[in-house]
């Protein structure tokens, strides 16, 4: 589809905003609608759009399959690792209250209090959603690579 100028230009314009929106949905999911699953799917669809328009090799040079393969497992590991970390801190599995810390959580800046780093429950939810996001993105992308790669080899 690289030969259609309208498709090429429009996707070039859209892809950065899709990526940005995915990051917004990921990291603003604690406050608004969204979260790891939605963000992962949106991020993967941006890369799949890139692969559809500019060809599979172009997409695979941005997100190489050997890396994506390892990220599939890394996401689950981040999620379960958060649980193991709370256990190591002497609490139940995935009980984020154990992640309570007081480093840069409440910084007084003039008259208002800034929450620079998330703490406790918020930090746990943040880490867990990052794990979900990584796994969902890489699984969706890997499935696309498998299907698209099969088409090329059969042609």
């Amino acid at each position: 589809m690289n030969s259609f100028p309208i498709i090429r230009i429009v996707s070039k314009l859209l892809i950065p905003y899709i990526l940005l929106f995915a990051l917004y949905v990921q990291f603003h999911g604690d406050f608004g609608p969204g979260g790891g699953f939605q963000a992962g799917v949106i991020l993967a669809s941006a890369l799949i759009l890139y692969g559809l328009v500019f060809g599979l090799p172009a997409a695979q040079s941005v997100a190489p399959p050997w890396l994506i393969e390892k990220l599939i497992a890394l996401g689950v590991l981040v999620y379960a690792g958060t649980g193991v970390a709370t256990m190591a801190l002497g609490s139940n599995f995935l009980d984020y209250d154990a992640l309570e810390h007081h480093f840069l959580t409440d910084v007084t800046w003039g008259s208002q209090t800034l929450h620079v780093l998330p703490s406790g429950q918020h930090l746990g939810i943040f880490l867990v959603e990052v794990g979900v996001g990584i796994t969902v993105t890489s699984v969706m992308l890997m499935i696309f690579y498998c299907f698209a790669g099969r088409n090329q080899s059969s042609e």
């Binding site: 996401g75 699984v139 499935i143």
Partner: protein, 187 residues
């Protein structure tokens, strides 16, 4: 407001019938994408933006691409069937009637007396603010914290699905000769 509901539900029904009746598979794939997009709009009307997000991205986006990828490996048109499928039609009709009969006992939409609004919703809405130190999104709090173990299981399901697809479909340089010979056995 009720007019939008009626328009969207009518469009959903029309698209579903079109998908079932159309013979051109490429057009059918496009219509499933349209169906998902209308479904996402419907979820948004029901105040479920999280589900609408997912439906728009997965249903209208990724699954359409995957269906097109599958279509590239098969024929573009469905085989015309010669027999009139009477028995499957009766089975579908019976199942549909049973499902509609099942919904008659359900509480009305938005009924405050419905069990789902009695328990455990009020307690989570009230508890999540002090529990989460002011995290405003109750949905995220329930998914990632109160039900964190379930979500770990869901992530593991996605992981397993990805690994399964990888095992079946991957064409590696090292395994390529093996796969070629197994293809010959199948054909």
């Amino acid at each position: 407001m009720i007019y939008i509901d009626i328009i969207i539900l009518t469009l959903l029904a029309v698209t579903a019938v079109t998908v079932a009746r159309i013979r051109d598979l490429w057009a059918a794939v496009m219509f499933t994408g349209i169906y998902s997009f209308i479904g996402a709009s419907w979820m948004l009307l029901l105040d479920a933006p999280d589900v609408a997000f997912t439906e728009a991205a997965v249903g209208a986006g990724i699954s359409t691409v995957l269906m097109l990828g599958t279509l590239a490996l098969t024929n573009k048109a469905e085989k015309p069937s010669t027999s009139v499928p009477v028995v499957p039609f009766l089975v579908v009709l019976g199942t549909g009637a049973a499902l509609v009969y099942g919904t008659l006992d359900m509480p009305h939409f938005g009924d405050p007396e419905a069990p789902v609004h009695q328990h455990p919703n009020p307690s989570f809405v009230e508890r999540s603010q002090p529990d989460m130190h002011g995290l405003p999104n109750v949905v995220t709090a329930v998914l990632a914290s109160y039900r964190g173990y379930d979500t770990l299981g869901e992530t593991a399901v996605i992981f397993t699905a990805g690994i399964g697809v990888l095992i079946i479909l991957r064409r590696d340089k090292r395994t390529a000769p093996d796969e070629h010979s197994s293809d010959e056995v199948v054909t």
